[in-house]
């Protein structure tokens, strides 16, 4: 399996997402990073799934060799799950924002742990 440019592109997008999760100070940016990384994995499935045929898997066989539909079905599920996770994380971040008035991860952590003892 050669390292084609598409692999590198998808890998780059994934790494950008992970970099965002680790490096961004703003919680919303972390969530956006997570979403970007999620999209990279989804792209991975769809792109390499799409290489097995020519056309969309509609009306099997009439318009040419249909693409393998399984990755597409899987990725739909993965997208759904991704949305739910992002929605949940936004709610959590919003509640924290309501309490502390800031979206900065370090500040919030300091404030939460200093409310202890």
């Amino acid at each position: 399996m050669a390292i084609s440019p598409s692999w590198m592109l998808i890998g780059a997008i994934f790494l950008i997402g992970i970099w965002g999760v680790i490096g961004a100070a703003n919680l919303i940016k972390k969530i956006i990073g997570l979403s970007i990384a999620n999209s990279a994995i989804i792209m991975l499935f769809i792109y390499f799934g799409g290489q097995s045929g020519e056309t969309a898997p509609i009306d099997a066989g009439k318009f040419g060799v249909p693409v393998d539909p399984i990755p597409q079905a899987l990725m739909l599920t993965a997208i759904v799950v991704g949305i739910c996770v992002v929605a949940m994380s936004l709610v959590l971040v919003y509640r924290l924002y309501q309490r502390y008035g800031t979206l900065d991860a370090d500040e919030i952590e300091r404030a939460v742990w200093n409310g202890d003892e």
Partner: protein
């Protein structure tokens, strides 16, 4: 986002087409790409467009939160019944419509709640 007149007009004119497109995706789910979930999300994005482009109250006039809540719970129940009896009900069309309604209700509900917060 500054509310300008052009934004107002465009959003109001565009939203119904989004609902129509979403409905198309849902109903043609078994023969073309689309289906319950995708169509449902497109319908919900029509609601979201209204909520962002104008304000949440307009979107709420179209889809009040308590009614959405009921719709979602109802379709969820129907879905559960349909899934359990899946051996009997083999109609993908019906399942797609149910899923589409549920997803549309659910996603627009989430979005309306999130947008409604100050």
């Amino acid at each position: 986002m500054r509310k300008t007149d052009s934004l107002d007009v465009v959003v109001r004119k565009l939203a119904p087409y989004m609902f129509l497109f979403g409905l198309y995706l849902v109903s043609y789910g078994d023969v073309s790409p689309g289906g319950g979930f995708q169509g449902g999300v497109v319908i919900a994005s029509g609601v979201i467009l209204l909520a962002i482009g104008r304000d949440v109250d307009t979107a709420e006039r179209l889809a009040p939160r308590n009614k959405l809540s009921w719709l979602e719970a109802l379709t969820y129940t129907f879905l559960l019944i349909a899934v359990i009896g899946m051996v009997v009900v083999r109609s993908m069309f019906l399942l797609n419509i149910l899923i589409g309604l549920k997803v549309a209700a659910g996603v627009s509900l989430i979005s309306l709640y999130l947008f409604g917060e100050r």
